[in-house]
């Protein structure tokens, strides 16, 4: 199926910003299942300089800066994506999780070496004995990895409550684990930390979630959101995405923009500015399906 996505970030300050430098991770990358059909990034006002580069994880970064002051900054990413549905196979049809962990220890293939990059602590995802203990009931020795993950993420979904008021962008995973509340970013960080505590490799995915209106109601434009979830290295299967907010494996409602070890590697928009006073941020995302599935 194909999606048309519009992601607008509007930044307004109480005073003019005099100088600003920014980096944006807003260009969806190609994956095994996802192709970028078209993409544009519109920045208003016109920056003094814009360039793109590829970061250490293979994501596209747009770097732009302003010499002239501005009152408001609007960054709009418009992308058309073609997404394949992953091949359906029973969760039991996967390598045992402990065999995957051992293979990562031996890291004999290039794929395993690359996965090792997502095996260790990163600034926002830290392994912990308590996290390993939380995962343990789902990770019996020899259990197929996808089956274990599916049970883990379902359990996680039941134990943790989505609560935008509970956390901020800097809340540590240990607090999220203790309070059992947070938003998608917190849940992704915590799930990644739990999975890494098992000796497995997990990365952070920044992207979009298509949401469907309640039956009989029209689709609300702009009601979607930027989203985040986790992806786990599963041996020969490659990387399998799991969404702790939904408590499921990722099938066809998720559009990947970028991945890294955690949010800090792929924040949609980073910036350093001078001036601006107190500021306000508005983000709107619209994910529209442009062709029905199966065509």
């Amino acid at each position: 199926m194909t999606f048309h996505i519009q992601h607008t970030t509007r930044y307004t300050g109480s005073e003019a910003v005099s100088v600003g430098h920014n980096e944006a991770w807003l260009t969806p990358r190609a994956t095994g299942l996802q192709r970028l059909l078209s993409h544009s990034l519109t920045i208003i006002p016109q920056p003094s300089v814009v360039s793109t580069r590829t970061d250490a994880f293979g994501n596209t970064v747009t770097q732009f800066s302003f010499n002239q002051g501005y009152d408001a900054l609007t960054v709009t990413a418009v992308s058309d994506i073609e997404l394949d549905r992953p091949a359906e196979r029973p969760a039991s049809d996967s390598l045992a999780w402990d065999a995957v962990a051992e293979a990562l220890q031996r890291h004999e293939s290039a794929a395993e070496l690359e996965a090792c990059e997502f095996l260790f602590d990163s600034p926002r995802c830290r392994t912990h004995g308590d996290f390993a203990a939380y995962a343990a009931p789902s990770f019996a020795p020899g259990r197929p990895i996808v089956e274990a993950l599916l049970e883990l993420v379902e359990r996680f979904h039941g134990d943790f409550q989505f609560d935008p008021e509970a956390t901020t962008v800097t809340t540590p995973v240990e607090h999220v684990f203790r309070d059992r509340r947070g938003v998608c970013q917190d849940f992704a960080h915590l799930l990644i930390s739990i999975i890494r505590s098992q000796g497995l490799a997990a990365r952070y995915i920044s992207g979009y979630l298509r949401t469907l209106p309640p039956p009989g109601k029209p689709r609300l434009v702009g009601a979607d959101a930027s989203h985040a979830w986790a992806s786990v290295y599963c041996g020969p299967l490659g990387w399998v995405d799991v969404d702790p907010v939904l408590g499921t494996l990722v099938i066809e409602d998720h559009v990947t923009v970028a991945w890294g070890r955690d949010y800090g590697d792929v924040a949609p928009l980073k910036g350093v500015y001078i001036g601006g006073g107190s500021h306000q941020l508005q983000v709107s995302v619209d994910v529209e399906e442009t062709a029905p599935a199966g065509e």
């Binding site: 100088v19 360039s51 090792c116 990059e117 938003v183 998608c184 949401t211 985040a228 500015y273």
Partner: protein
């Protein structure tokens, strides 16, 4: 050792080197080693008193040069002097060449590894390095990937921390590849040692250090050559609060680079610029001296004051070179030491010549087993933090702590390394009148020269009184030493001054004047004049308080009110004094004057003068800086001796007045009439005008004519008594006194002479040539000058009229407006950078 008995007086050799420790000076038979014979012979005949006297001289020179740690650190009372032992550490040329060969290979190897780690990562893919070394290593920073591919050396300067073990073999205790500290200290030690060591000890030809710094200049210039044929190089410092700030100042001055802090640099259109008094000047090479992981707050986050937002991308785009390249610090994490012998074969196809201290990485099963088996004899360090931070000498901790450490290692084995302990070699130290053994840590420095590295023929030696493990920091040990490398041929004289014997193009200005420096110097000027004015005012008060009958001094209430108006004393005193509790005031005054937390007080002005002058002493004449430092030291010593009454205050302010007059003289005589002097002088004159205007407003505030005793006191504060007497004898008249204070442009303290000078200064600041009209600052200052010049003579006789008071108020307002305009236009170009962060959130869940 039996040498002590063989040598008689004069100098005592208390020289017993513990068994098993390598003796740098003597071989096991007691015969001097290569290079030491001549020195030891001379030393044996050196009178101990002369050595002691010269050692004191050296310490004095060090203190004077301000080579002390934390000397610039605000609020830090404890200053740790850089102790220097006059006896050098001597090495023969042959041995030095061996060290250079080994370290050249090592530096090339580290460069190879860092380029690979931040590039194609072959070493990971072919199994030469386990993935943990990068992926579990917080020192591996993704934003630096790709930065090491460009032309030119990625590591331009490298330092190795060396120790010599009992077998006589040098080994590397730590690698420093990001921004190695210590080379300026080595240079400073060399200069002072050469000046103060007894000439009899200094007969041998010693290799000079200057060629090393010359090479450093060449290497950095080559790095900049791809950006500009005449590259501009700046030295980026962490600033005055950093403990090694001295070194940044010293290096910048020695190498001739502009010393900058992050606020001085701006990135525009992916180019780096230096903010100067005359606008933005492009920068080609940044010699980065701060922590690499703070170099760019945009890409690396954090709120360190060191970094420059956007600088990494400017480097990626090929518009600037940061040296050493960000990422080089990865090589400082000791985990690499465990792999160097294999990596040397793999990368260079050579055997490693200069070994590291034996190092085991606990992430490897066999190595971990060895470490846990030999636990008590080892030192355990975090594998991914640069050496010199946290470490545990296992034999020194309790059994419980050992157990806990084992647990931590087993939980995260890859995060630890273990190293052997070393007994450092012994070298002669002159201490307490005798020659004794000291155990040496040696830091040596390399600079890239094409594809190779050359070694500074010298270094920074620190000595400890025993063989216990020493910290790796350059401030470790109880003292430092110069390192002499003896030449085996004639020594070529080299200096960093013009190497060719031909005339240069004459210039009248130095190329670059950063806005921050301009700002600081402006405030140096202000503090200087504020301290002077307050001292004179206080002297006038205190002199009257210390007479037999202070209450008879009719002018005292007026003077006390001025003090109150100037924020020097509680306003209550100005009222109370009319009722007569003079003793209380006399007792309170010392406290109020000495209170440095009172921001408008004399103590604060003196402290601020010293702080700002120390920051910008590159721009002030060395003598003026020394005198400022001495003035502040004298004043603070006087304060801390405990003042008990007005007499103490009187002595102190008299001294400050004389000292500041010397400072003024040195500034006027010693500073080139360039922008530095100009900004300083603008600051002084702005302050002086406002002080005089404020003083006159206080005196005129009651609308009464100013009484004669007050006019006399005013002449004292204005330092015009002699002039007045010469003109008018003892006939004190208000109009004549006010003429001297306000309108007489020949009087160096009058308001009119300050305004006229300010008008001239403003003309000579860099201007926007496109505008045909007068600049805002020029209009402001001309307006004030005009008002003063146009004062009708009879107004001076009648200050009780509101007009003169209003003019004083207008002058004050005009100078405030001038300060604001100058600040906006020339001094501060920017505010504090801030981060934006955006949290993703989902609006609804299914």
């Amino acid at each position: 050792m039996s040498t002590a008995e063989k040598i008689g007086p004069p100098l005592r050799f208390d020289w017993s080197v513990p068994t098993g420790v390598y003796n740098e000076a003597l071989d096991p038979s007691g015969t001097p080693r290569d290079g030491w014979r001549e020195f030891l012979d001379a030393l044996r005949h050196a009178p101990p008193e002369e050595l002691a006297r010269r050692a004191t001289q050296a310490e004095e020179q060090l203190r004077e040069n301000g080579v002390t740690f934390n000397v610039f650190h605000e609020g830090s009372q404890l200053q740790r002097p850089w102790r220097l032992d006059l006896l050098p550490f001597i090495l023969s040329a042959a041995e030095w060449r061996k060290v250079e060969k080994g370290l050249n290979q090592r530096a090339r190897l580290l460069r190879w590894i860092v380029q690979d780690c931040y590039g194609s990562r072959q070493l990971i893919y072919d199994g030469s390095l386990p993935p943990e070394v990068l992926f579990a290593n917080p020192g591996f920073i993704r934003a630096f990937c790709g930065l090491h591919a460009g032309p030119g050396p990625s590591i331009a300067t490298y330092a190795a921390e060396l120790a010599r073990g009992p077998d006589g073999q040098w080994c590397v205790m730590a690698d420093r590849a990001a921004a190695p500290a210590g080379m300026a200290f080595a240079l400073e030690n060399r200069i002072i040692t050469s000046r103060t060591i007894p000439p009899a000890l200094h007969h041998q030809p010693v290799l000079r250090l200057a060629p090393f710094f010359l090479q450093l200049q060449n290497t950095l210039t080559e790095l900049g050559a791809r950006h500009s044929p005449n590259p501009r190089i700046v030295l980026l410092s962490s600033g005055a609060s950093h403990p090694y700030y001295f070194e940044d100042v010293y290096l910048a001055r020695y190498l001739g680079y502009t010393l900058v802090e992050s606020g001085d640099l701006a990135v525009r259109e992916d180019r780096v610029y230096l903010k100067t008094l005359a606008g933005l000047a492009p920068v080609d090479v940044i010699m980065a001296r701060g922590p690499e992981r703070a170099i760019d707050p945009l890409e690396l986050g954090g709120n360190s004051p060191y970094g420059v937002p956007g600088v990494l991308h400017a480097m990626r785009r090929g518009n600037v070179t940061i040296s050493n390249r960000p990422g080089s610090g990865l090589m400082e994490t000791p985990v690499f030491m465990a792999f160097l012998p294999e990596l040397c074969r793999r990368c260079l196809d050579e055997e490693l010549l200069m070994p590291s201290i034996p190092t085991w990485w606990c992430g490897d099963d066999a190595q971990r087993a060895y470490v846990l088996d030999q636990f008590e004899g080892l030192v355990i360090k975090p594998a991914f933090e640069r050496s010199g931070g946290r470490e545990t000498i296992v034999s020194r901790v309790s059994a419980a702590e050992r157990g806990a450490l084992r647990e931590r290692i087993l939980a995260r084995p890859y995060a630890f390394v273990a190293q052997e302990l070393i007994e450092r070699s012994a070298v002669p130290v002159f201490s307490q009148g005798a020659v004794r053994p000291g155990h040496a840590a040696v830091r040596v420095f390399m600079v890239a020269e094409g594809g190779e590295f050359s070694l500074m023929p010298g270094g920074l030696v620190r000595v400890a009184p025993n063989t216990a493990p020493m910290e790796l920091s350059i401030s470790a040990g109880v003292g430092s030493k110069d390192l002499w490398v003896l030449a085996d041929g004639p020594v070529r004289p080299v200096t960093l001054l013009s190497s060719e014997n031909e005339p240069v193009k004459l210039q009248r200005t130095s190329a670059i004047f950063p806005s921050r420096v301009a700002d600081d110097l402006f405030w140096v000027g202000q503090s200087l004049d504020r301290a002077d004015f307050l001292s004179r005012l206080l002297r006038a008060v205190v002199e009257r308080l210390t007479t037999d009958a202070p209450l008879d001094a009719a002018e005292l209430p007026s003077l006390v009110r001025i003090l109150a108006d100037q924020g020097q004393i509680e306003p209550g005193f100005a009222i109370e004094i009319l009722a007569g509790p003079m003793p209380a005031f006399g007792e309170e005054l010392p406290r109020m004057v000495s209170d440095a937390s009172e921001s408008r007080g004399l103590a604060a002005a003196v402290r601020e003068l010293e702080r700002l002058a120390s920051l910008e002493r590159l721009w002030i004449s060395p003598d003026a800086w020394r005198k400022i430092h001495e003035t502040a030291a004298t004043f603070h010593a006087s304060v801390s001796s405990g003042w008990t009454g007005p007499y103490d205050v009187l002595d102190a302010v008299n001294q400050v007045i004389l000292d500041l007059a010397a400072v003024s003289g040195l500034i006027q005589d010693g500073m080139i009439r360039g922008p530095a002097w100009r900004l300083l002088d603008i600051g002084r004159r702005v302050e002086r005008t406002r002080n005089v205007a404020g003083l006159l407003r206080s005196l005129m505030s009651d609308g009464e004519p100013i009484e004669r005793p007050v006019l006399k006191a005013l002449l004292e504060v204005m330092d015009c008594r002699m002039t007045y007497r010469a003109r008018y004898l003892d006939n004190i008249q208000q109009n004549a006194v006010l003429d001297l204070c306000i309108t007489d442009e020949t009087c160096p303290r009058s308001i009119a002479s300050q305004l006229a000078a300010l008008a001239d200064h403003v003309d000579l600041l860099p201007q926007d040539a496109a505008s045909p009209l007068r600049s805002e600052e020029k209009r402001v200052i001309m307006g004030a000058l005009h008002a003063v010049r146009m004062l009708p003579p009879d107004q001076l006789a009648r200050p009780q009229t509101a007009d003169l008071r209003d003019i004083m108020i207008d002058v004050d307002l005009a100078l405030r407006a001038l300060t604001d305009t100058l600040s906006r236009k020339y001094l501060l170009h920017s505010g504090q950078p801030r981060q934006i962060t955006i949290e993703p959130d989902v609006v609804a869940t299914t």
